[in-house]
């Protein structure tokens, strides 16, 4: 096949921008699944909740979607803490089998999706912002602002989180609980409280990831499902706990999807990402950059 150079370059650039967004979607799961060992497959439901929050405020007050996402952070933080508390008392403290906890989040995902369908219907919703539409042209390359703004904000958010985890006291406690909860207990800190804060943070990232999602594309309730596999693919590929690994994996998946969509048609793109996941799980479950 004759591959024209500028098409390829544009596909790669679009993939990198997409990857930045995927990183924002995945960072929450890297915290909850990678560090806390809680398989939160309801993550896409929280992300959609973020999208719809942005949609409501944007359509009534006309505020900037990303600003709305930042304002929503504390709300989602509290929501995440509440969900973790329920999860802790129902499953972790009882020492139940993982299968029930998994079913719990699966149910949560489904309830979230159906509730959104009942409230908003299955119409596509979108937000309005000055950067949706125009693009920057740099020589051969087109940079649509609607992709560039979420990508940059997302990388900024992840950098701040990385700084928080490695420098602050609570952040280090979160890393500690991910390595050895019992040892943390011996240092007179409660793993449950630390995990609650961490899960709150992981849910809070959904507020911003949701606004990115609705900036990038119109949103309807069942769209979240497409992200379950993608999120976990990136998380596993990136080696579960490391942010740099996760960002690299997100970019990789973004580029592969974008090239597939450009040269073989968008309907094949999901199979590539998930095929990647299946192969990684089968061949190297520790991830590309895993320990």
């Amino acid at each position: 096949m004759a591959v024209s150079l500028d098409l390829l370059v544009n596909a790669i650039v679009a993939g990198i921008l997409l990857g930045g967004f995927y990183a924002a979607v995945t960072v929450g799961v890297t915290i909850s699944f990678g560090m806390l060992d809680i398989a939160n497959i309801a993550q896409p439901a929280f992300i959609l909740l973020g999208s719809y929050a942005a949609y409501i405020v944007n359509s009534y007050l006309g505020l900037d979607p990303i600003l709305i996402g930042i304002v929503m952070l504390p709300v989602f933080y509290l929501l995440g803490m509440a969900v973790y508390r329920l999860y802790y008392y129902s499953f972790e403290s009882r020492g139940e089998q993982a299968i029930q906890g998994l079913a719990f989040f699966f149910g949560l995902l489904f309830v979230g999706e159906v509730s959104l369908v009942l409230i908003f219907g299955v119409d596509y919703r979108f937000v309005e912002a000055p950067y949706i539409g125009p693009s920057l042209h740099l020589g051969l390359v087109d940079l649509p602002l609607r992709m560039l703004v979420p990508c940059v904000t997302s990388l900024l958010m992840i950098a701040l989180l990385q700084l928080y985890l490695s420098r602050s006291f609570i952040g280090r406690a979160i890393l500690a609980v991910s390595q050895d909860g019992v040892a943390l207990q011996l240092m007179a800190a409660s793993p449950m409280r630390i995990k609650q804060i961490a899960f709150g943070i992981s849910t809070a990232t959904c507020a911003l990831a949701g606004t990115f999602l609705i900036i990038i594309q119109p949103v309807e309730p069942s769209i979240g499902r497409d992200y379950i596999g993608r999120i976990f693919a990136i998380c596993v590929l990136g080696g579960m706990t490391s942010f740099p690994g996760m960002v690299t994996a997100a970019m990789l998946i973004g580029i592969v999807e974008s090239i597939t969509a450009t040269f073989y048609g968008p309907s094949w793109a999901p199979a590539v990402a998930f095929g990647f996941l299946l192969l990684t799980l089968a061949v190297r479950p520790a991830g590309l950059l895993g320990r």
């Binding site: 009882r94 029930q100 489904f110 309830v111 159906v114 499902r225 596999g229 976990f232 094949w268 089968a282």
Partner: protein
């Protein structure tokens, strides 16, 4: 109860229900609704062989189910294809053969999934099955012969065997499948195979160390579970008459086949049956009286409520009560003596 006796009892119950409903119900809608409930009996029993007995959560029910349905579509179009390209004339393939083929196709994919995910435990297996569902759906969406994303219309044969309308025929076949799958589940439960499955569920490493052939048993579980799901899906094209990827790979199949055993109880063959009949009936009633979106909400809420309040399902609740009563019976005489 001995296994042979159970099979006979299950067959008798199945036949009795079949005959009674076909004699006394004249409303076609009853058979449409009952077909779905029976289909969920098969699906949740199949799910439970892997999920409940062996402890591996499968979120990809939709994939196995839809593969069964799409293999029927291929077989349905086979006579036309052969006639068109090779000038061969063969008769329309009967539905029971399609069910067997659907089972073989999905069973093979189940075996493949088993091989691919051998090293994966718990959550990773669940995520892999979820990913599998999307990969298979993408393949079907891009396969034009079976309709692609546009979907495909299937025209039912004009005459139904065994008398009655075609829907009664589908209902009868699904009843047979339900009896077979429940019989298989119960036979496994009381056999060495079932003990091996339970050993894997409780502690895979210890089972392996204790000489349980975990690899072979897991492959048997994934193959059997996949095959039964495929068989449940094979009649679907004739039931809906219009098949498209979005509806046949619907997440509702996965949610239901997880929710029903969890709500009924995962350790016993009766659990998925209770869960399927209960939830299936509630959903059918809610769909008719309220709305189809709401019935999915009910399933989700029931699933969350049950895993929190009664993690061992209805069967677990009954067992706990029976045990409590037994304990009381034992302590009462002693109390009387003390007084």
């Amino acid at each position: 109860m001995r296994n042979g006796f159970f099979w006979i009892a299950a067959a008798v119950v199945g036949t009795a229900v079949l005959v009674l409903t076909r004699v006394f119900f004249t409303n076609e809608y009853f058979f449409f609704a009952a077909y779905v409930v029976l289909q969920y009996v098969v699906l949740s029993t199949a799910w439970n062989i892997l999920g409940g007995y062996t402890g591996y959560t499968n979120f990809g029910t939709g994939a196995f189910f839809a593969l069964g349905a799409y293999s029927s579509v291929v077989l349905h179009k086979m006579p036309t294809l052969l006639h068109g390209s090779f000038d061969l004339t063969i008769p329309q393939i009967p539905l029971p053969i399609m069910i067997v083929v659907g089972g073989i196709v999905s069973g093979t994919v189940g075996l493949g999934t088993g091989y691919l995910t051998l090293r994966l435990r718990g959550v990773f297996f669940a995520i892999a099955t979820l990913a599998l569902a999307i990969v298979v759906q993408t393949l079907i969406v891009n396969w034009d012969y079976v309709g692609g994303s546009r979907g495909i219309y299937i025209i039912r044969p004009a005459l139904a065997p065994l008398g009655g309308g075609y829907i009664q025929y589908l209902y009868t076949l699904m009843m047979v499948l339900a009896v077979i799958s429940v019989g298989i589940a119960r036979t496994i439960e009381r056999s060495r195979l079932g003990l091996g499955f339970a050993a894997i569920r409780d502690d895979e490493l210890a089972a392996e160390a204790g000489g349980v052939p975990t690899l072979r048993l897991k492959l048997i579980a994934t193959t059997l579970s996949g095959a039964l799901m495929g068989m449940a899906g094979a009649p679907l094209p004739y039931y809906v008459t219009y098949l498209d990827p979005t509806s046949s790979f619907n997440l509702a199949y996965a949610v239901n086949s997880v929710a029903m055993p969890v709500i009924g109880g995962m350790t016993s063959w009766i659990g998925p049956v209770i869960g399927a009949i209960l939830l299936g009936t509630i959903q059918q009633l809610a769909t008719v009286t309220i709305s189809s979106a709401l019935n999915l909400l009910i399933v989700g809420l029931l699933l969350i409520g049950f895993v929190i309040i009664a993690p061992n399902g209805i069967v677990g609740l009954v067992q706990a009560r029976r045990r409590a009563r037994g304990a009381r019976m034992q302590t009462q005489p002693q109390a009387a003596r003390a007084a």
